[in-house]
């Protein structure tokens, strides 16, 4: 009974068009109720293989749909719910038409990357390496994509990140959701690098560096970061302030020195 309903909902979700995605959450919550009736929302010893397969597919649909709806909290929830299913032996899951495991995991990695949670990113990656082996991961385009992005981000090849977020390089449309976020991330990274690296910068060059469309956008961006744009060049006022701050630092460090020396004296006294 509940099983039939579940299958029905799955086919409905499958045929759901992009314009009525907002229907999906309702369908999903009905499906989850059905799963609970089948006792299959969390896999146990007794759950039947076909139910497990149904549950896994449903949760994957849920994850993908919540990404399309840009509901990252829901996505994280679905991802966590899927974990016990992914750790089951493959023969228990029965024959599934296709597994979206790589896709969902890749999306989760990308999500962690876009919020800057590098520790979480590496923790998940470490788990993947251990559980599914190297070949599996290197074959999986969906997982390689965030891995490549992370590498480029860490070494600072921002132009590679920019290239990766362009339409044809993105492995599937769900991944495109993060492109906007990532571009913003690298833009602010580049901005903070530029502040320190260049004494000043012509606006036309800044446009290319920051991947902005027009010079007007550059000036707007410059203002939002508090840069000064005059005579066709951008000047970074923060540099000078920091130079001043550094000088003050040396002066104010005398306090620290006194404190440390007093500390040594006190310690020495307790020892002797």
């Amino acid at each position: 009974m509940a099983e039939n309903e579940l299958k029905q909902i799955l086919t409905q979700l499958d045929t759901l068009k992009a314009n009525n995605l907002s229907e999906a959450p309702k369908l999903l919550s009905r499906a989850k109720l059905a799963l609970l009736n089948l006792n299959a929302l969390v896999p146990t010893e007794q759950t039947q293989p076909q139910h497990l397969a149904l549950a896994a597919s449903l949760l994957e649909y849920g994850a993908l749909i919540s990404i399309r709806l840009q509901d990252t909290d829901a996505f994280t929830r679905y991802f966590q719910q899927l974990q016990p299913f992914y750790s089951l032996p493959s023969d228990r899951l029965g024959s599934r038409r296709q597994s979206n495991q790589g896709k969902v995991t890749g999306l989760y990695l990308l999500l962690l990357l876009s919020v800057g949670d590098y520790a979480g990113f590496h923790t998940v990656l470490e788990g993947l390496e251990a559980s599914s082996g190297k070949e599996q991961i290197e074959k999986d385009e969906f997982i390689q994509y965030p891995v490549r992005l992370e590498q480029a981000l860490m070494e600072g090849s921002y132009d590679k990140v920019w290239g990766e977020t362009k339409g044809e390089r993105v492995p599937s449309e769900e991944f495109g959701v993060f492109s906007e976020v990532l571009v913003n991330t690298i833009r602010s990274e580049i901005a903070s690098c530029s502040e320190r690296a260049y004494p000043s910068l012509p606006i036309s060059n800044a446009k290319n560096l920051l991947f902005l469309d027009s010079e007007g956008a550059v000036i707007q961006f410059a203002q939002s970061r508090g840069w000064v744009a005059k005579e066709g060049r951008i000047y970074f006022p923060e540099q000078e302030q920091e130079m001043l701050a550094a000088q003050k630092d040396v002066m104010s460090s005398s306090n620290v020195v006194i404190e440390n020396t007093l500390g040594y004296a006190r310690k020495l006294e307790t020892i002797v």
Binding site: E155, Y158, E195, S253
Partner: protein, 512 residues
């Protein structure tokens, strides 16, 4: 991932050096002598005797008559074949040994001890000690499934007793319990491994150990759980365990070493390199560097080298010169060389050549993260050698794919404080700022402070680690009581004297 032998080895370290005079006795004698030690321990409530009994295991297991010796020990302790405890132990020992012993030699030993043991009503400690021997025997003969089944019942029994003199034995029992389950198929990285099933048991053991203030079991089980989580790469759980529990300060050095190693591993994966480095440094310093423990030492050394590289430091050359580690660390030596000069090609070559080794050590994913460090070092080398260099040259020298990438990479290096330079976008080159004098900054005083802090910390730890004899304070108490007694008598005498003399001598009291 640390090999099982490594952890085992740390355990073996002390055993090896203190075998002493017992080693030339026949194994069954050692076992029976140990019964006396254990009895003494229970009577005096002093765990050191138990530790001494446990130490001889490494000698025992090397003997080729180990099984026979255990059977004899069991017979001695439990003379009646009908005793339940004896049955449990003998069930897992090989049939031919038990049968043979039934025939000839056993009765004599039995007879001798019969009178003594009848009144003994065997101590649980002795039974548990024999249980450990059985575990060791099963492990050495690779009967992992039997060992796992036996251990499951065994630790359950130990937990039900709740005796403080059983703590050390219990800790060891859990160690073998976890070890057996680790060796069962499918092996750990798989998510269906039996190690996952033992987690609830270990957690329950941890809970009871904490409630009973059983430091030994608590330390051992915490370490086992961490190892368990890390073996299936459940880093988040391991991290939560560390956050929710307190590692007993009174734990033995070996357990502290392991704990620090696993902690270092967790932190390294979470990118907290400074913290990881601290933990690993203490682990390597505390760990014994000779004997069977060399496995653990080299394992933690490898991890420490990688973490040091990730922090941007270059490990000292002397690390690689240690004779015992030279061969084991060779791939890492090559790696350090590549990182040190910032040669991306050599680095990638080294990683692909030694991939198998790195994977085995569980450092592979960490090493992959080094890529950016190599590039950074490369940029720094260039900036040190040229006062002005074009971006195109940077590209060719560091094998970067495009000039734009090179520009972003150098900009990031400047922002991260790796180099002191500025970029000239129009002409496309990098200009290095002249070096500032390090002694005009606060850096020397900071380094000085760090060293003093470390030394003071060391001293504090030493003071805390000092051991005092158990009953010293009782002795003092009784002395104090005696002194009070004397005082009272004196006071009485004085009062009596006062009656005689009429006027008291106030000074007398002050002298007291």
């Amino acid at each position: 991932m640390a090999d099982k032998m490594d952890v085992d080895a740390v355990n073996g370290e002390r055993e090896e050096e203190t075998v002493g005079p017992a080693s030339d006795l026949p194994p069954e004698r050692i076992i029976i002598n140990n019964f006396d030690l254990i009895r003494q321990a229970v009577d005096a409530f002093d765990s050191r005797f138990i530790l001494r009994a446990l130490r001889s295991i490494s000698t025992l297991r090397k003997s080729d008559k180990f099984a026979e010796a255990i059977v004899q020990g069991v017979r001695t302790a439990f003379p009646k074949p009908s005793m339940g405890a004896r049955k449990v132990l003998e069930d897992v020992l090989p049939d031919n040994v038990t049968a043979m012993q039934n025939g000839t030699s056993a009765p004599s030993a039995e007879d001798k001890k019969k009178d003594a043991s009848a009144e003994e009503q065997q101590l649980p400690e002795i039974w548990a000690y024999l249980g450990i021997l059985v575990q060791v025997y099963l492990y050495d003969t690779q009967q992992f499934q039997e060992g796992a089944d036996f251990s499951t019942n065994f630790v359950e029994k130990i937990r039900s007793w709740n005796r403080r003199t059983l703590d050390q034995i219990g800790a060891k029992a859990y160690f073998y319990y976890a070890l057996f389950h680790e060796t069962l198929d499918p092996k750990p990285p798989s998510k269906q491994s039996p190690v996952i099933e033992v987690r609830p048991k270990l957690l329950a053991a941890l809970r009871s150990a904490v409630l009973r203030k059983d430091n030994d079991t608590q330390a051992a089980v915490t370490v086992l759980l961490l190892r368990n989580y890390i073996s299936t790469a459940d880093i988040t759980q391991a991290d939560l365990l560390v956050a929710q529990t307190q590692f007993p300060t009174a734990a033995t050095n070996n357990q502290v070493c392991r704990y620090l190693y696993y902690l270092g591993r967790i932190r390294a994966i979470q990118l907290a390199y400074t913290e990881a480095h601290d933990h690993l440094e203490s682990a390597t310093r505390k760990s014994p560097t000779t004997g069977p423990a060399i496995g653990f030492y080299s394992q933690s050394m490898k991890l420490q080298i990688v973490v040091e590289l990730l922090m941007g430091d270059i490990p000292e050359r002397s690390v690689f010169r240690q004779p015992a580690l030279e061969a084991a660390l060779y791939p890492y030596f090559k790696l350090v060389q590549a990182v040190r000069v910032g040669d991306l090609q050599a680095f990638l070559r080294c990683v692909t050549n030694n991939e198998g080794q790195f994977r085995k050590d569980g450092t592979y994913t960490l090493i992959l993260r080094l890529r950016q460090n190599v590039i950074k070092t490369g940029v720094r080398m260039l900036s040190l050698s040229y006062s002005r260099i074009s971006l195109r040259d940077i590209c060719t020298r560091l094998h970067i794919s495009s000039e734009e990438s090179a520009e972003y990479i150098t900009a990031k290096a400047i922002r991260d404080g790796v180099i002191e330079a500025t970029l000239d976008h129009q002409n496309g080159h990098m200009v290095t700022n002249p070096q500032r004098d390090a002694y005009s900054t606060t850096e020397p005083s900071e380094a000085f402070h760090a060293r003093i802090e470390a030394l003071l910390g060391l001293r504090d730890e030493c003071v805390m680690a000092m051991r005092y004899p158990m009953n010293k304070h009782r002795q003092e108490l009784s002395e104090a009581a005696k002194a009070r007694e004397r005082e009272r008598e004196l006071a009485k005498e004085i009062v009596e004297g006062e009656g005689d003399d009429g006027d008291g001598d106030e000074g007398g009291f002050e002298g007291m």
